[in-house]
């Protein structure tokens, strides 16, 4: 385990993330221009979609059904467990509990990419259709949690608007669009664009993580405001969901690499799609809670410690079962 952790800690993305945090701690002026950040995320998501689509073009349908089913199941389960824990153990009010649960029910694409990169570096190549699973997990979690909140608190806005917003958000357009384009162009098309999309991928991810470090560190001051419970939740809930994801993954026939990535997806908390949706649907919920929990607690935890832990769990389950 320590060996795995050490490998992860010295990976370029974790080191870049740490540098980002340090940049803020020493109060450097440095930050990535907003447009560069935006361009990098477009590049990463589209590359991910394209590659996944190409893999999908020669994947067997039978191999995907099981993992797809457990992914949707996880998408329905994680917002509910999050809500119940926050509401009843954490004593958060309905709006806050549901808004935070929306973040933990959805998925962080960067955590997903970090997990893919990690297991590949460990020699446990995940299944090529993992990006397809990512798109399945993105939206149900947000909707279920927001629906709980809106039912309890009332108000909000039409579900149709939230649905439209999530389904047409950048993440979904680039991922789903990339999958379709990748699927259609196949291996031959991929060969033509892979120097750009494959060759630069890890480098782009490294710069992106540098900025994520800065963004997360910006919220460190808010840790004092959110209280100990949310701090524990931000670490404990991912561990529970991650273990569940790893188990579901292995049961559905995924490899150790695939199960680790599924675990990381289940464990991750969205910070791109969920915040605006929660802000609009549950306006009384305090954004400091959900943004700090997902960005300053859960994201760093997953990238630094969580992913190697889920990998170990998946390995143990795979060996045992």
């Amino acid at each position: 385990m320590t060996e795995v952790l050490r490998t992860n800690l010295l990976s370029p993305i974790v080191l870049a993330f740490a540098l980002g945090v340090l940049t803020r701690l020493v109060r450097s002026e440095f930050q990535l221009p907003k447009d560069v950040y935006s361009a990098l995320s477009i590049y990463l998501l589209f590359a991910l979609g394209l590659k996944g689509g190409v893999e999908l073009s020669h994947a067997s349908y039978a191999a995907i059904v099981g993992p797809a089913f457990v992914t949707v199941l996880l998408g329905c389960l994680t917002p509910v467990t999050s809500y119940l824990v926050l509401r009843h153990l954490g004593r958060f009010d309905d709006a806050d509990a549901a808004a935070i649960a929306a973040h933990y029910g959805s998925v962080s694409a960067v955590t997903f990419i970090a997990a893919q990169t990690f297991v590949t570096s460990m020699g446990a190549e995940p299944e090529g259709f993992m990006p397809t699973l990512l798109t399945l997990l993105e939206s149900p979690g947000i909707h279920i949690a927001l629906a709980i909140g809106v039912l309890k608190v009332g108000g909000g806005r039409p579900v149709r608007e939230t649905l439209h917003e999530i389904l047409t958000a950048r993440t979904m357009v680039l991922l789903v669009g990339g999958l379709v384009v990748g699927f259609l162009m196949g291996e031959k098309g991929w060969h033509a664009v892979s120097p750009f999309f494959d060759g630069g991928f890890k480098g782009a991810l490294t710069i992106f993580l540098l900025e994520m470090g800065i963004v997360a560190a910006d919220r460190l001051g808010d840790l004092r405001k959110v209280g100990l419970f949310l701090l524990g939740f931000g670490i404990g809930m991912p561990l529970v969901h991650g273990a569940l994801g790893a188990a579901f993954g292995i049961l559905s026939g995924l490899s150790v690499g695939g199960a680790t990535v599924l675990a990381a997806m289940a464990a991750s908390a969205s910070y791109i799609a969920a915040p605006p949706a929660a802000r609009m649907s549950l306006p009384t919920a305090n954004p400091t809670y959900y943004l700090t929990a997902s960005l300053a607690i859960t994201f760093p935890f997953n990238v630094v410690v969580g992913i190697p832990v889920y990998y170990q769990i998946a390995r143990a389950l795979h060996g045992g079962g």
């Binding site: 915040p275 605006p276 802000r279 954004p287 400091t288 943004l291």
Partner: protein
């Protein structure tokens, strides 16, 4: 040069509100709007509006009646939960008949 007296309504709000805000302003009678990205600090602190996209500043030129309706609507729907500032100013507008 001939000018017309109108109200300039300015609303500074969290960026997530931009779309619905513009929608509301138009429905209440604004014939157009100007939107600029904005940044600042207020009684709610810097953070509340800090979802990606910072804040927006939406400005419309309208008649005094519409201006009053806009402020009323903003007061009723937005002030309690969102970081929003709204004000009106008296302005002299060239080709003002377009907006009244």
């Amino acid at each position: 040069m001939q000018t017309v007296s109108l109200k300039l309504v300015t609303v500074v709000a969290e960026a997530v509100l931009a779309e619905s805000l513009i929608d509301t302003l138009k429905r209440l009678g604004a014939s157009g709007y100007t939107l600029t990205e904005a940044r600042g600090e207020g009684s709610r602190g810097r953070r509340v509006g800090e979802l990606p996209g910072d804040n927006v500043r939406v400005e419309v030129l309208v008649s005094p009646t519409v201006a009053a309706q806009i402020l009323e609507r903003v007061n009723a729907t937005l002030f309690s939960n969102y970081a929003v500032v709204a004000w009106t100013s008296d302005v002299q507008v060239v080709r003002g008949e377009k907006y009244a």
